[in-house]
Symmetry: C2
Subunit: 212 residues, 2 copies
Amino acid sequence: MKNKQFTSNEQQSLTEIIYHRRDIRGNNFLNAPIPQPILDKILDAAALAPSVGLSQPWEFVIIRDQQTKQSIADNHREENEHAEQAFKDDKKALYRQLKLEGIKESPINIAVFYKPNTQPTLGQNSMPEMGEYSVVCAIQNMWLTARSLNVGIGWVSILNPEKVKATLNAPQENKLIAYLCLGYVKEFLEQPELEMLNWHKRQPLQIIDEKY
Amino acid sequence: MKNKQFTSNEQQSLTEIIYHRRDIRGNNFLNAPIPQPILDKILDAAALAPSVGLSQPWEFVIIRDQQTKQSIADNHREENEHAEQAFKDDKKALYRQLKLEGIKESPINIAVFYKPNTQPTLGQNSMPEMGEYSVVCAIQNMWLTARSLNVGIGWVSILNPEKVKATLNAPQENKLIAYLCLGYVKEFLEQPELEMLNWHKRQPLQIIDEKY
């Protein structure tokens, strides 16, 4: 299928999937298991992401064990107690009410790591972060593919990444890029929850013509 | 369209788009202009990306000017001369033959910046890189949307990012995440070019069960 041309219907499908993707938190996950072929499809999409110099510098830890999840949830609770201190007054009160993760409520967690190459990597000399960015491209492929399979993903970033590595016995050189919670959901909200709660509004894109 | 459920046809469209996305270089761009509504669709997809705490920390510079492109191309040439030194023997010879960018051959370049928030951002306390990662999610949305519109994108990372900022008069606090080249293409290759040239092979995903 060389040089495939996509139709406007196929284009529209992608736009809808992008539009309806949401970050899913604990109050919205169902306890239903994710069948292995569905999980495989989500992971296959990661493998097709762009990566700098085709280095594919990613590793995925699939977590179902309750004890492991509890350790990650404890890590989150501790970091979240620090995090709320940054906010003041109304924002702090709202922050405290937010449920920001679904570690224990989701059937599958996936820790996604950047594994640095030991050899020089094409395209990574001037911008060393390109390896991490490749892993993020893989995660976005997973997120959209999950949504198209009506599976929700939540990205938990309020975690001490070194403690996550310790919990998972991850090699020292690995860097945690994302901790994802996957599961079927009660609903995909019409808008991002933080928009509905007026935490932030959607802004028009900042587009600069030619130069600042 | 609350809680939209996608069909297997819609799911399949996404998989095909992900499968047929390629990184496009200079020998493959057509000189045909990109109509504004097509460019708008690609940018609209960026605005719908996930971002940490809904911070939307992205800015986009649209570049069509030949002089600006020449300055970026000079930046690339200089960095690329350094870069090739990292490779030895056969790899170095192959590296020298590769055309790794399409800065001047593509009708539109887009510099994508991370603009750090001046306020604390929900979800960015423990993992400060989350702001940059949000911008990468936006880029992957753009890349897939472009492909679905049969428009190619190449991500140029062999650039001195500080010199790119100087060329574009970018604010000091901004960080260059990606320099993208956009245009219609002669062909979307069946495999990544680096795979066809045996630079690297596609590897099976490293999937770890529960713990390392």
